[in-house]
Amino acid sequence: MRTPFPLHYILNIVIVCGIYGIWECRAQPVDSTAVYLFPHETPVTYLAFWKTRRGDDPLWRSPVYDDSRWTVGAVGTLWARDVAHGTGIEWYRQTIFIPEPIDSLRPCALFCRAAVCASELYWDGILISQNGRIARDASPEIPGTSAALAIVPRRLTLPGRHVVALCVGNARTFSGLVEAPLQIGYLDEILGRMHRTQTVLLLCAGVFLIAALFHFAVMLGRTRGPAYALFGILCLSSALYLLIGALVNYFPTSLSWYYALALINDLPWFCMMVLLPVFFLFEFELPLRLQSSALIAAVALACIVPPRLIMFNLLPVAWLPVFESLNRFYMYAITLFSATISFVNVVRKKQGSLLALAGCIALFAGVFVSFQRGVEYAWALGFCALIALLTLSLSRQMAQQNRKRQESELRSARLELELLKKHIQPHFLLNSLNSIIAWLEENPATAVRLVQALAEELRLILQFSKENLVPVSEELRLCRLHLEVMGLRQDRTYSLQADPAPQTDLVPPLVFHTLVENALTHGFAGKQGGAFVFRREASGGRICYTLFNDGGSGDRDGVPQREGTGIRYVKTRLEEAFPGAWRLSGGPADDGWETRIDLLTGAI
């Protein structure tokens, strides 16, 4: 059963669009720029919405200044309102109410991850932090660094109304920007959260790095399918993405590099976003893999490139929210896409699909928590779970492949041994030696012929023993040698008359030899000799070989004997070589016995 291919995609997109639309409608911005601070209950509060205004005026830092006519805006928005791209100075104001006295032993702090490029932070009109230097009065701008932490003096956090004013100056780069909501709360709590996030991200990066190394190392050892290479690159990209993010937070970086870093970090991000669904395409061997991969890469580019174009003022800044939604939508989409592929394969009972599905669900949960609850590292944890589960699944597949290879090696060794054991039995050799002695005494020339025929037969059997298939013509040569040996041993004349068989006709070794042997054992008691006739008929994709002998057969007095080891050997070898595409039959015919082998030639 095969599900029609485009159905997954369409279904996926419809579901994702539906769910995402509902979420976007629900998540309306909260239009409030006044925050009540209850550090006992909420140790850290996020300041996402501010009153903003372009320009610069020393009065704007004052707590008594009336900012009611300022624009309300969220942080994370690029500046692109004036002609000189996004350069200039912008002020952000926020009113904070402290309703009750704050723990006097725990200082409060404000944390700003990145304000491009220089910033000043005022609390009730008093400068509490300066990051770099804003360009004013012809003095040049000195860029600040990322991860700026400002401690609010304890005397300023008395109960009542307070005003926080953030002045951001950008004279060098394309656009000014406050990257993430500012955090206000107890200093220890802010630092603690920062460390926890960083630790989790680094831990995940470590997991990805190890997984990547593992898959690359495995790839060096043997040739593997593209799925494994893709998986290795996917892990490496994830590790790089997280590492770059974490290092910027650990080592405060000049904010004039902000956009360059963002571009660099887009590369692994792009790889992650593309390789995850593409890996699933290859791992589960879906049809149209290359076309689908190209499509996914195009969609990912369409989601990732426009925000950067906006950043460099090449697209209207008003489109930014649209593309941010699109990005989030894309992330949900690839997660669900991968989950759908896994699910379809779980239904088809494909190996490893259940683990993959569990991983996809973990990733979806992580992405969901990240977007909807704002927990920064949740998606990374989800991704980590996915990678761990996929590595487990791939390792199990590798173990199974190893086992299969060992089994097949063992099987061919067993076949070789079986062939030698069956055809070079001690009693065959000892009887032949005994006959040679008998002929030496009676007629040495015949003894010499017997020794030569026997040697040639043994040589051929040893040569055949390592082959899975031998040319029919060679097999018939072996039969003739065997008939000569047995004829000399029994002092009878055996003949084999054979249709010519083309060199391309192949059969498992010693199949006809075994049939001849069987006929000799059962058929010619009391006769002076015997005649064998080998015929080959090819018609309509089928080859039919018949071996007739004018002796008896395996059945005495019309009672068929039970299947002997010879026939079992023939059946086993035919099934090994032509699984399900052969038929062996036999019966009395024209004062003799005929054995017939039908082969579907398509199987060769």
């Binding site: 009676e442 059962h522 008691a525």
Partner: protein, 236 residues
């Protein structure tokens, strides 16, 4: 001595015939070759022979089926075969010797010596007796025989189930084939000494061996000492 050679390979049969004639000389009064089971049985139906030289894998037919039929006859059987893995089983059926192919004159001569000396001591001895009754051959395990009693050219097998079967070989021939624990206590009796209880001594040189199952069998005067020795040294 009349000898039948059963061998499907003509050169090998001729060699065996040749060598037998050389080894036995005038003692071999007749030598006949048959190259198939059916031919051998037909011959034995009409002729009386003293010895059969048999190749076990005869034309692929189960050699032991044939062997069990031959073993029911009055003659001894010597197997001449390349299938040495079947030697032990052949001895269990009661063959006198097993000559592995290829053989030489010396080995064949040794086999003919067994006709007087009995089965090689290192072999286990027979375990089943082929009994011909009403045309069919039945295999009787040696353990189920209480004692063997000679009757002319035959042997009566007195079985544990109370019945008596007639065995085709003479008591002398049987004695050569049985495992060592069987002992001829009297010119007409062979028993398993392991199943003997004690010897009763009557006056006038009359002795009787009492078996565990209660049977009392005569012991010849000349064997009395030897049997007493064996019983005393036998493990309790």
């Amino acid at each position: 001595m009349d000898i039948l050679i059963v061998e499907d390979e003509a050169p090998a049969a001729r060699r065996l015939e040749r060598m037998t004639a050389e080894v036995l000389g005038a003692a071999a009064t007749s030598l006949t070759i048959r190259n198939s089971l059916a031919g051998a049985e037909a011959y034995l139906g009409d002729h009386c022979v003293n010895l059969v030289l048999l190749d076990l894998n005869l034309n692929g037919a189960d050699g032991f089926e044939l062997l069990s039929r031959l073993a029911a006859g009055s003659f001894h059987t010597i197997v001449v075969s390349a299938s040495v893995d079947q030697a032990l089983r052949a001895f269990e059926y009661g063959v006198l010797d097993f000559v592995p192919k290829p053989y030489d004159r010396h080995r064949l001569a040794k086999a003919f010596d067994r006709l007087h000396a009995g089965r090689p001591a290192e072999t286990p001895g027979m375990r089943v007796l082929s009994v011909k009754s009403m045309g069919a051959v039945r295999l009787v395990p040696v353990e189920t025989v209480r004692f063997f009693k000679g009757a002319d050219d035959y042997v009566e097998l007195h079985l544990t189930n109370g019945s008596i079967e007639l065995y085709g070989k003479s008591l002398e021939a049987l004695c050569q084939l049985l495992p060592p624990r069987y002992y001829r206590i009297h010119k007409s009796y062979i028993v398993d000494l392991a199943a003997a209880q004690r010897i009763h001594v009557f006056g006038g040189g009359k002795y009787e061996l009492e078996m565990r199952d209660g049977a009392r069998l005569p012991v010849s005067r000349t064997q009395y000492r030897a049997i007493l020795d064996k019983l005393e040294h036998a493990p309790a």
